[in-house]
């Protein structure tokens, strides 16, 4: 039933050289992600989760191996096409939200639509819709500093969704949240995953946060330790 993978990672490796020693942040990872999946990537600190996301998002180039998104080899893309990929195909969610401090919640969510070439008014309209969807319809004009951590992360989720990406990469989205808020954020991501059929890949080192995943990928020392299918 599952046909072509949306993302295909083949023998992916990323080495860093630090003071003469080679650090193998990723070392020969093979993974496939399918459309509409919710996949958790679990691994201790330093296991290579962020490195993997950077390579899938085209922010970094691998030492060895390939990343295919929608069948396209990322190594073949130039800086312009990679920017387009990050803007239209992939949404990012970070541990510390990374909202723009001088923009309101509404403007933060609308910002990626500017890069996508949408007129500002239309972007704002889309942003408002999404903020309502994540339950922040009454916080449109608030600055990030005027929002709680959980609310900021919901703004970030809306921002990641605004250009209708196929993929959302969430790097420890609950790392800076208390347990209960974290669970609610994961619940929201899983709801969006079902309702909007967006593929979500979420990294975490908290095994509490993997409930409800379609698959769980366990990383250790830059390698896939095991893959659990739920």
């Amino acid at each position: 039933m599952k046909s072509e993978p949306l993302i295909e990672v083949v023998d992916l490796a990323r080495y860093y050289e630090m003071a003469g020693t080679i650090i193998k942040a990723l070392d020969g990872v093979n993974l496939e992600f399918y459309r509409g999946e919710y996949v958790s990537i679990v691994g201790p600190s330093g296991s290579g989760k962020t490195t993997l996301f950077n390579l899938i998002g085209g922010l970094d180039r691998p030492t060895r191996g390939k990343v295919y998104v929608d069948g396209v080899d990322l190594a073949e893309l130039d800086a312009y096409e990679l920017a387009w990929l990050r803007c239209r195909k992939i949404g990012y969610i970070f541990q510390n939200f990374n909202l723009i401090g001088v923009l309101t919640a509404l403007e933060n969510v609308a910002l990626p639509t500017v890069f996508a070439g949408l007129p500002w008014e239309e972007g704002l309209k889309k942003a408002e819709e999404l903020l309502r969807l994540v339950g922040l319809g009454d916080r449109l004009g608030h600055l990030p500093s005027e929002l709680s951590a959980g609310q900021q992360q919901r703004v970030a989720i809306a921002r990641a969704m605004v250009n209708d990406p196929d993929i959302i990469l969430a790097d420890e989205p609950t790392g800076n949240l208390d347990h209960e808020t974290g669970r609610r954020i994961i619940g929201l991501l899983q709801r969006l995953n079902r309702e909007r059929e967006v593929t979500i890949i979420a990294a975490t080192h908290d095994v509490e946060m993997i409930k409800g995943s379609d698959r769980v990928v366990w990383l250790r020392d830059g390698r896939v330790e095991k893959i659990e299918v739920k």
């Binding site: 962020t50 096409e81 970070f94 923009l103 910002l111 990626p112 996508a116």
Partner: protein, 180 residues
């Protein structure tokens, strides 16, 4: 993927740049330093009368003010870029190209230069009125006014070139690596 890339035009840069200027604490410092230089300049432009020594003296003041303004502007822009490392990294993650980041910072410099120049002209008028009651303001020429604006904008942009270049070259992975 289809040869398309991302967009970020002049209007977008103005919109975002204005938000940054409004939300930035040290903006008054930039503006004050530029207006200081501009004030001196306007002062000279308005009062072309006076003895030779007085004119030389004013020229010295102007040069010092211009240098002070340029250096402090460059410093403040560098600090502002440094404070925004993470946000610039985020912009790049969201699809900003290097030249988009560069454009944003240059537009911010342009706006600050214009505001600074405007304040400078006002200060110039006031200092003229205070320091020399015998000079009437009918002698004000538009050339003096527009060159004041031009000067402050130029100072602002030229001293922001290096900070903007630094911002443009930031590697998003590096700046986003350190959480908290």
């Amino acid at each position: 993927m289809n040869g398309d890339s991302t967009h970020f035009g002049l209007t977008d840069a103005f919109r975002l740049g204005l938000r940054y200027i409004r939300g930035r604490g040290q903006a008054p410092v930039n503006i004050a330093s530029i207006s200081l230089a501009s004030a001196f300049y306007a002062y000279i432009a308005l009062m072309r009368m006076g003895t030779q020594t007085l004119r030389t003296y004013r020229l010295w003041l102007l040069s010092v003010a211009v240098i002070v303004a340029a250096v402090s502007m460059a410093t403040v822009m560098l600090i502002s870029v440094y404070e925004r490392y993470r946000e610039i990294g985020v912009l790049k993650c969201l699809g900003a190209l290097d030249r988009h980041v560069f454009l944003l910072l240059i537009v911010e410099a342009l706006i600050q230069g214009l505001i600074g120049g405007g304040i400078g002209i006002l200060l110039g008028f006031i200092s003229t009125l205070i320091s020399n009651t015998s000079t009437s303001l009918t002698g004000v020429n538009y050339l003096g006014l527009s060159s004041t604006l031009l000067l402050s904008t130029l100072i602002s942009i030229v001293s922001s070139l290096y900070p903007a270049y630094r911002a443009m070259r930031l590697n998003p992975i590096e700046v986003l690596r350190y959480e908290v």
